[in-house]
Symmetry: C2
């Protein structure tokens, strides 16, 4: 294992419209040493999308093979295409001591939680349900029915907060990002994460040197 | 309860020589809204000591009465005098939404842990056992035997880290204080602390307003 210790798997999730994308983007700009997990998909690349940056593009056959070999932290089928988080990429980064952000919807986050014992699960909350509604409306390009559906679903999804470790209200992006940074710094001080290395380093000292 | 919610009880502890006093002092200078818990004692005030600032000074009779009425988070008898943390003062501050720091030795911290279900327990670690030894020596004014006794006790005490929530290495005071600040900020985002208020505020919204 890397000298820094294993990286943190940071799962950032929340209802549609809570602003998890904006927070992750701002967080990653300020914390260049942290990596964003890149999803795999079977859909065709859109113009400008780059393999390994926006997505790992793969065939359905390859994707299904990876499902069978249990190489996804989570995956879902959406409109006849698959999307998923490749386990091996994330594992490699964590093993190298790199912190990994996984930005993901609530269903995905709950699957990740089932499939791994690690992970710091952070729920991004809108400042209020009113504000959430407004944000969903502001995205525009949707019918009134689909807006209502989105909003009702977001309203229900907030109940899932109890499955998470932390909740951060996205009132001001900068403050939310600072909270995220605090959570990560604090998690690195958690005794259940670092106990072994503390006790190891203590025992590693030569007694003669101490009791001279 | 105060609108801000209940304050955090932050227990800062660690072996003698780890520097918990220095860290607390620096932390409190930077975070004026946080209060330091003042201990009660039966010893006589020394010159310059102020009631309610350095200690609450009380008679042995009063102290014992408080012990019997279970009004200490922890107490100990040292050289024929009592020292303790009055429960009611701490409780009042927490209830008013004030975060309270309790700077305390390991035995005291473990008693606090037995006597309350709340509390964020933070263990201050010396950068190394060598450094710890040097710090104990630098305090001076002790015999070689008492130095050795202090050091051996500190060495053993580090095993108690596993009873704590967080461990902070006191390599540079400023960095240690920043970690403390991060821990407190993160604790305020913990879902198990704030879940009820999140779900309450969600349900508090009038549905008609949302679905207009």
């Amino acid at each position: 294992m890397n000298k820094k210790g294993r990286g943190l798997l940071i799962v950032i999730s929340g209802p549609s419209g809570a602003g998890k994308g904006t927070i992750c983007k701002s967080f990653l700009e300020r914390n260049r040493e942290v990596s964003l997990s890149v999803s795999a998909t079977t859909r065709d690349p859109r113009k400008g999308e780059v393999e390994g940056v926006n997505y790992y593009f793969m065939t359905k056959e390859d994707f299904k093979e990876k499902i069978n070999s249990n190489d996804f932290l989570e995956y879902a089928e959406v409109y006849d295409n698959y999307y998923g988080t490749p386990k091996s990429n994330v594992e490699e980064m964590l093993e190298n001591g790199v912190d990994v952000i996984l930005e993901i919807d609530i269903q995905g986050a709950l699957k990740v939680k089932e499939n791994t014992e690690e992970g710091v699960f952070i729920f991004i909350l809108p400042p209020s349900m009113q504000e959430l509604k407004q944000r969903i409306i502001n995205r525009g390009s949707e019918t009134k029915e689909s807006l209502m559906k989105r909003f009702k679903s977001a309203y229900k999804e907030i109940n899932f907060v109890s499955k998470y470790n932390y909740a951060v209200v996205n009132d001001k992006v900068e403050i939310a990002v600072e909270k995220l940074e605090a959570i990560i710094a604090a998690e690195k001080c958690r005794v259940d994460r670092i106990k072994d290395s503390i006790l190891d380093s203590k025992e590693g000292i030569i007694h003669e040197q101490l009791y001279d």
